[in-house]
Every structure is written in C-alpha cells, then in structure tokens.
C-alpha cells in the first residue's frame, strides 16, 4: 500500500510534482502513466526517500519509507537500471545490497536464477546490455521478497521473453496480495499488465481509476460498418450527436451510436450490411487524449504519415 498526500517537489522555480494525492492498493498491479517529464520518476524517488518532498508526504505500508526497520523487505524498487557500480560484478552488487539486511547468499542465488542472470553473474556490470542491467535491477528489487514493488520502466530494453516474464511476474506478485506500482511507456504492455491506472501530466494527476473505466471515459466508442449502400446508410444515421467518417468507399466509422442502433437503422432502411463491428478504444487512444494538453516535449508532426489513431478525435471535430 502506497499513500501519497499533497506530494510536491519543486526544483528551483520548476514544479516537477504538484500536490498529488493517490493510493496504490495491494493485490493489484497499478500502472503509472505520463509523458516524459510529467513527474513519474520524481514521484517514485520521493516514495523511497531519494528525493525529499518540498511539501506533502508519502507512506509505504503505513510509514514513511525511511522509518522502516528493514526497508528492503518492505519495498523493492527498480528506479533506474544503472544504479550500480560499473566495476563490480552482478553477484557482488547483489551480495553487498543483501548484506545490509543480513540476507544470505542463498537468496542472492535465487534472484540471480529467477532473473536469468546466472551466466553473467560474475561479469562486471559495466559491460552489461540495457536488458541485462534491467534484469539486475529487477533482481535487486526482489532481493528482500518485499511486500511492495516499485518498478520504473521495468521492461525497457528487455527481449520479448523478458517482457512476458515481467508481465507474468508482476501479476503473480499482485495476486499474492502484494502492492505493485509500475510505470511504462508501452501502452499495449500496460493494457495487458495493469488493473488500475494513475495518469500524471505536468506534475498533476489527470485520472486515477480501473483500466477499463479510464479507457471508456477517455475514448468514444466507434462502430465500423461496411455496406455497399454506405452513402445511403450515412444519410439515415445522421443525427446531431452522431459523427460519421469514412476512409474508403463502402466503409463507415460511426461515432456516437451503438452497434445495435446502427443495425436497426440499417434493417429498417433495408440496407445490406457486410460488416458491423463495435470498436472499443485502446489504452493508447485513451492515454493520448488524456495527456494531449500535458505533454511537455512535443514531437514535430511527421508530414504525410498516416494519422495515428490518437489523432482521430481532432479529425472528427474538423469533420463536424
């Protein structure tokens, strides 16, 4: 359980985190989303006491992190993969951190095997690939068999097998009743992994809720209709709250009407349908529409590239 209240961090005049409050519940995977520079890492660093909050407070399992008698068994954190002395071997790195809590070599070897580091454990960390560094970071987080895990971009740099492993691992740990708080920029991965989302932008919470609720609140349902009489159907469907767009002849994207309604209108008008598909929004769409005003570093638009799905809302507004 992580509880933040009015958590604020200012660096000089720049406010990185602006009075945020949220709770990360045990027993589920909570995703932490936000654009670059939104304050995710700063928030995670404040949870484990690496950064001192300018105002507000955050507790883990009921206490500020620094007040725990055995912090590593309360919280396992992967904040940046390379928080490791490059001249030390992976195994010695783990042994040194384990030693602070009197954790023995048996557990060290366990986490080495769990994270697939066995063959490189004696090598110096300086020569590790991004993925290996990431696995080592996860091994450190697991060292104390902690009740709460905080993972910043855990799948960054991992191969597909590693990504799958992390997904299953965090779900399993959450199913054991542990608290799992993780950030990622991979929306598809987050959609598969998280049960609950906290979305942050420009240092403030944009939304906080179960994944499906976040998606349905932030995207509009669309119905895909394919018909040889598409033009006719579009005329029949026309209503003030219904928007219809078309990317190719005979194919309509209907926003603002349910698949049932479209089917009934078509039947009443004796219109042949070849396809009628309700399309729910994706997490990526939801994320893009939630954070479009909060993005700190905009990328320049790519000319003539096919419009990303996320661009759709603005597209429709023009069409209206």
């Amino acid at each position: 359980m992580i509880e933040a209240q009015g958590l604020t961090k200012r660096y000089g005049t720049k406010t990185a985190v602006d009075g945020i409050s949220f709770t990360v519940q045990p027993g589920k995977v909570t995703g932490f989303l936000g654009p670059n520079g939104a304050g995710k890492s700063t928030t995670m660093r404040m949870i484990v006491g690496l950064d001192r909050p300018t105002a507000g407070s955050v507790t883990v399992n009921g206490r500020p992190y620094a007040q725990h008698r055995s912090p590593l068994t309360e919280v396992g954190a992967l904040l940046e993969a390379k928080a490791v002395h490059t001249g030390r071997s992976a195994k010695n790195h783990l042994r040194a951190l384990a030693a602070t809590h009197g954790i023995g070599d048996k557990r060290v070897n366990e986490v080495i095997d769990m994270t697939g580091l066995h063959d490189v454990a004696k090598r110096r960390v300086g020569g590790f690939s991004l993925g290996m560094g990431q696995r080592l970071g996860i091994a450190v987080a697991l060292l104390g068999d902690p009740r709460t895990l905080i993972l910043d971009e855990p799948v960054n740099g991992l191969d597909p097998e590693g990504v799958l492993w992390v997904r299953n691992l965090v779900k399993y740990l959450a199913s054991e009743g542990r608290t799992v708080f993780l950030s990622s920029h991979l929306m598809s991965e987050m959609a598969l992994t998280a049960d609950h989302l906290v979305v942050i932008g420009r240092g403030r919470i944009i939304t906080d809720g179960p994944v499906d609720q976040v998606i349905s609140a932030a995207t509009r349902a669309t119905v895909k209709v394919r018909s040889p009489q598409a033009t006719q159907l579009a005329q029949l469907l026309a209503a003030p709250d219904v928007t219809i767009t078309s990317d190719e002849p005979g194919l309509l994207q209907v926003h603002g009407a349910t698949a049932e309604a479209v089917g009934e209108v078509a039947a009443a008008g004796r219109i042949v349908l070849h396809e009628l598909t309700p399309v729910t929004g994706s997490l990526e769409e939801a994320y893009m529409s939630l954070t479009q005003d909060a993005v700190e570093y905009h990328s320049a638009a790519v000319p003539d590239a096919p419009h990303a799905e996320a661009a759709a809302p603005t597209h429709e507004e023009n069409a209206r």
Binding site: T73, H93, K171, D195
Partner: protein
C-alpha cells in the same frame, strides 16, 4: 485488459516479523563487500605497500652507502621519512574513490535505498576505509622495518622495537596515512565527484605546503604548521626528533599528538559537513 483479475484485495502478505533487519553490523559487512569487490582497492593498496616498503629500503641503502663524513643521517628511523609524502598518495585516491565511485555510477541510489537514513552508510564506509588502510599501512611499515633490519642490520640500521617512542613513531605512519585516507574520503563525500575530490586532496597534500612556504608572507608562514598533512605528519616523528626540530626554530612545532589532533579535527569537521549534506541533498 484481462478480465480475470477479480481476485478480491487479499489481506496484504502477512509474514512473521522478517528475520532480515537493517543494522550497523550488516552495513559494515555490506561496505566490506563493496570495498573489496572493485579493482581500485587492490591496486591502490598494493601501490601503497610497495611504496612504503620500497622507499624505506631505498633510503636505507642510500644512507648506508653515504660517505661517513658527509653528515648523512644515521638514525634508521630517518629512512622512513619519505613515506610521509609518498605513502598517502594512493590511499588518497582510494579514500576518494570509495565514495565518489558510488556517485559517478549511480550506485549511491541503491545504497541509500537500502539504508534510507543515509548517514550510517557514511559511517560504515568511513570505518572500513580507516581500518583497512591502517592495517595495510601498519603491516607495510612493519615489513619495511623487518627487512631493513634483516638486510642492513649489520650497518647498524635496525630500529629499536623496544623503545615506545620509536614504536609510536612507526605506528604513527599508519595512523597518519589512514587519517589522510579518511580526509580524502570526507572530501569525496562532500564533492561527490572523483576527479574534483582527488585533485583537491592532492592539491592540499602536495601543493599547499609548497605554496605556503614559498610565498614570503608572514600569516601564511604561521598557518603552515597547521596544514592537514604538515600537522598530521608530526605523529611519525619521535619526541626526540620533534625536539630537534624545535631547536633553532622560531616557528610553532606541534607535538606528535597535537599535530595528529589537528589533522583529525579537519577530518571530523569535513565528515560532519558531509553527513549533514548527505541528509539534506537529494540523491
């Protein structure tokens, strides 16, 4: 999004109060592992040992072969003199690197996550540096004295190991070198940057004494005996030698323990400042 996660929020993992506890003893063990698992430790300590033993024997050889009427020193303890300058150099690098290495690599964030109260990490590290450097320096000086006696004993070059004053002076080399290592460590903890810390400590050890004696300005001259290494090196001299220094010298000549006290005071102040900043700064 998976729909199978209906698992009700189970009671948080209950566990018997964990047998794993953070403690200062555990931190010492951790710092011990860290200290010995990077290459710079063995390198700098080996260089220190070789320098201490080698310089002592070389100087003894020179003294033995000097013409009797050249007025060369004949006290076997004088052969250890250069160790004041050469002994602490590699140790200064070791002291600084043992903490700045954590900052430049990001390791410090792992260390401070494991011990979020932070300052115990600093104390544990300082203790490991101090003790290991002292033991290595003491052993090297002992070996140097034994080899000196074994090789040049026939020429009267044997330190009198039964004389407490002589023993204090010899042990003084180890104390002095260990304390310089700690001075360097404290500067490293304050500056958090390897090159800056090493440059500073070498500047203090090598350049400051030269500047202070070369610039003909009285206040500098008066401060000179209180420079960290000038004061600290007094502990490597026998009371007899210090008495000789005082003769025909108007300047302040600190006693062995006064001098070592001054060096220690620098270290305490710097370490204290480092501890305060470690608590305050974001890692």
């Amino acid at each position: 999004m998976s729909t199978t996660t209906v698992a009700p929020t189970r009671a948080e993992v209950s566990r018997p109060t964990s047998k794993h506890k953070l403690s200062f003893g555990h931190l010492l063990k951790s710092e011990w592992i860290k200290f010995w698992s990077v290459r710079s430790t063995v390198w700098t300590l080996s260089i220190t040992a070789v320098a201490l033993i080698g310089m002592t024997l070389l100087l003894t050889l020179a003294m033995v072969n000097a013409p009797a009427d050249a007025g060369a020193p004949t006290n076997p303890l004088d052969a250890f003199g250069l160790n004041v300058y050469l002994g602490p150099l590699a140790v200064a690098v070791l002291g600084a690197l043992s903490i700045t290495g954590e900052y430049t690599t990001g390791m410090i964030r792992s260390s401070l996550t494991a011990e979020p109260r932070r300052t115990p990490v600093l104390w544990a590290k300082a203790l490991v540096v101090l003790v290991v450097v002292f033991v290595v320096a003491a052993a090297s000086i002992a070996v140097a004295a034994l080899l000196q006696a074994a090789i040049f004993g026939g020429d009267g070059m044997t330190v009198d190991a039964t004389d407490t004053d002589t023993l204090r002076a010899l042990a003084g080399y180890a104390l002095y070198i260990a304390m310089i290592g700690l001075l360097s460590f404290a500067l490293g903890a304050l500056m958090r940057h390897s090159a800056a810390a090493i440059a500073t400590v070498l500047g203090v050890l090598l350049i400051l004494p030269i500047l202070f004696s070369a610039i003909p300005w009285e206040p500098l001259h008066d401060i000179m005996p209180f420079l960290p290494n000038v004061a600290g090196a007094q502990i490597t001299q026998t009371d007899e030698q210090i008495e000789l220094m005082r003769q025909g010298n108007d300047d302040v000549v600190l006693s062995a323990w006064e001098g070592f006290g001054v060096l220690s005071a620098y270290v305490v102040v710097l370490l204290g400042a480092a501890a305060v900043l470690l608590k305050k700064r974001d890692a």
